[in-house]
Symmetry: C2
Subunit: 474 residues, 2 copies
């Protein structure tokens, strides 16, 4: 089988390794009906939310325990066959594609909340638990888990891609919030990294080495994360601006003044139009900021007043406040519907998503030039951003049957990433490298650092079976 | 040369590797008077604040640039000779001891502040810059660097040991605050990890792999860290309690309620007595909490009122407040003088320091039993702690000439660490493993995880020349 041209173009060393029939038989004998070779199941596990395609994995194992994962990895390792962990399939960067063949290990049935330690503000879950399920499980404790990447991803997947999202400006990313992991290594051994202590200097930080390793160093099977007390008061606000620049300058000042804002999201005029068309929101069709404040009633009031003052300086108008959960949900509709409204604005399209992140003072420079380029290209796009972190996403809406549109989108992305790197930023704030950004990673971090990553990969996965072909070529 | 018995007992594979005369000559030829073989210089670089002793390094190179470090490492690598990075020598765990011989690279002359990016709340410094120097350099920007491990350590050393200290309860540790590093690898190459972007999903987290690696994977030569706006208001408080348990229970409740306290430090009655004797403070001789609140005037007031309410519930008395810098400094005198007052209370003694850290709900269990054991042992001790993080330090005051005292102290430490591990904590919150806790690391994290660390070490430092003999045996 050959991969489509677009993928071959992006992944220079794509090749399908042989999966021996004996391995599939051994998996079936160990897992019975929990090992599937049905095409529809394999195809479902061989794609994600990216626009890439590859042949599906040879089999899918539905793990129900860490021992299941360890046994599947051991069998695969015996035959030097790749294994690809699968949560809910919400990767945007082709992480789940079996570009070198192999088997998919579906962890979605490992969905037990193992230990809620409310007194310590920690919770330990199996890797297949999703963030919404987790928040439902801890609701009665008065605590919550803030990381919200949009998709209802699994904690395992969020750990593997170092995910973040709207609340990261205040609560940090998975990097800051994972305390400990259980991991199945490339040899099928089970190890633990970290403890439930809030801090530690005990040896190499294997937890943070695994967080963001995109399945290439091991399969994450359990995750311990920090929880936070539900804020006594939450207040949301929406504010329109005459220009993207005004919205961005407002954000920069909020951050530079150290206001502990919990969310600050940019939505550009394009996206407001798409959301208005789709969800009949009747929003003013200009760039807007969606914000949220967490704290005591007094502190929330103080933060909100300060922010309104700053926004007014930059000609922010149409401030609207929401304090009840229902009103807040209504305000956030625009943000939550952005992606689907955009996709529906061009039937049959796929979104090519960018993910640059720059130091906050460089945000205006990075964004404004990229908006000008995107407008000049003629490709429709939406633009949303976790601007408080200097992170934003263009979604270029391309017709997958028109290679020339993909080419334009890739050029726009390339130009945007080059700009972000010049401004001392990164090609990916939260989506990961996957298949798409291997070249950018080299430019960003240099051959020496990528060689160090390769050395670690070779040392921990000598047969190169853990999600091979992602992050870098070996 | 043989190491003293105490060290041989702790470090099973201690052996001195040969340092060829040709290497020393090559170093002298490259570095001239900046390469010293004077005994006094070597001895000064062959010890730290730990109670261990080993033969000094064969030579000391005073680096003035990253290229100096790279050249020294390359020369050492050619002869397979160990290199040990040296900042100010404030390690508590024997990190600086040349247990396998080799050369010391002193980075204290690499003390340039390279870039203050106040608009981005970041600063980049050479590794030899100390935290006080850094705070002096950024003072005029209205920003500060909060990590305060007590000693005026270098940023390189603080990174290498994943240091934290009194402000970590609010601002996190070096793990959360280092954004990017420049590192000289074991082959003498210069790499960069990370960017100035606040978050990133770009490949393996080499930054956090290096943070806490104790010089065993590379020499850190530049550090980019986060800064924070100086709080609009700062308020400090001191409060006495009838028992350690009451002070600890107060702390647990403060944390569980999510009050964003900036510092909460425990000082036990012993230590108060020692400080009173030494600094004539006239404090009530009972356990006390020292606290600090950062924020807007309204938020600081709110936090302080809440905390006073909680403390009163646990019979806290003699609340004293300080808002001016002078008054705050006076209140903190007790904490800052604790170590030296303790040392002076028993002339000629050395302190054997513990560093366990447990989940906050286990703090009382961990602390109270250990206090009882320490009291029963008859060894004098002081006890201070960053209790908001579940981290505390006993300092057992031993006469270095009485092996039986060291033995009792080690037994107390052993019992304390075992207890902390049973309570899902760590043997070291902030000092590192060094020479002293290799056995504890194995117990804490398991053979599988330590084997993974060893694999990484072998891959990145195949000649085992980077600060060998620390963290684990190979």
């Amino acid at each position: 089988m050959n991969a489509p041209d677009t993928l071959a173009h992006l992944v220079p060393d794509i090749h399908q390794r042989e999966v021996p029939l004996a391995l599939v038989e051994a998996l079936k004998s160990r897992f019975h009906e929990r090992c599937s070779t049905a095409l529809v199941v394999r195809e479902q596990h061989g794609r994600d939310e990216s626009s890439f395609q590859a042949p599906p994995p040879a089999a899918v194992v539905f793990a129900e325990s860490t021992q299941d994962v360890a046994d599947a990895v051991k069998l695969a390792s015996d035959s030097s066959v790749p294994v690809i962990p699968f949560g809910v399939g919400s990767s945007l960067e082709g992480h789940l594609l079996a570009v070198q063949g192999g088997i998919s290990i579906d962890l979605s049935r490992m969905n037990q909340v193992l230990a809620i330690n409310a007194d310590d503000l920690t919770v330990t879950v199996q890797a297949g638990v999703t963030r919404k399920q987790l928040n439902e499980a801890v609701k009665s404790t008065g605590l919550f888990f803030p990381i919200d990447p949009g998709a209802d991803a699994t904690l395992g997947g969020m750990s593997a891609t170092r995910a973040s999202g709207t609340n990261a400006v205040r609560y940090g990313t998975m990097r800051e919030n994972v305390l400990a992991l259980q991991v199945v290594t490339a040899s099928g051994d089970i190890i633990r990294t970290g403890t439930r202590a809030k801090k530690s200097s005990a040896g190499y930080d294997l937890t943070r080495l695994m967080v963001g390793s995109e399945g290439t160093l091991g399969v994450i099977t359990e995750v311990t994360v920090r929880l936070y007390p539900l804020p006594e008061a939450i207040s949301a606000a929406i504010c329109s601006f005459p220009s993207i620049e005004a919205a961005v300058r407002t954000t920069i000042q909020i951050i530079q003044l150290g206001i502990p804002i919990a969310r600050v999201e940019l939505i550009d005029t394009n996206t407001v139009r798409m959301v208005n068309a789709n969800a009949k929101l009747g929003l003013i069709e200009s760039p807007l900021l969606l914000m949220e404040f967490h704290g005591s009633p007094a502190s929330v009031k103080e933060q909100a007043e300060l922010v309104q003052e700053i926004a007014t300086e930059f000609d922010g108008t149409a401030f609207e406040w929401a304090t009840t959960p229902e009103e807040r949900t209504r305000l956030w509709t625009a943000r939550h519907n952005a992606y689907f409204s955009a996709i529906q604005s061009k039937p049959g399209c796929r979104a090519i998503s960018t993910d640059t992140c720059v130091p906050i003072s460089r945000l205006a420079d990075c964004l404004l030039d990229s908006v000008a380029e995107a407008n000049a290209s003629g490709i429709p796009y939406f633009l949303v951003g976790h601007v408080g972190d200097g992170n934003f996403h263009f979604g270029y809406l391309i017709d997958p049957d028109k290679p020339e549109e993909r080419e334009i989108a890739e050029k726009l992305n390339h130009s945007l990433v080059s700009r972000a790197l010049r401004l001392e930023g990164t090609c990916t704030g939260e989506h990961g490298i996957g298949l798409h950004k291997m070249g950018f990673l080299l430019t960003e971090t240099g051959t020496g650092a990528v060689d160090m990553m390769r050395s670690i990969k070779r040392a921990l996965d000598p047969k190169n079976i853990m999600n091979p072909g992602k992050i870098f070529t070996l």
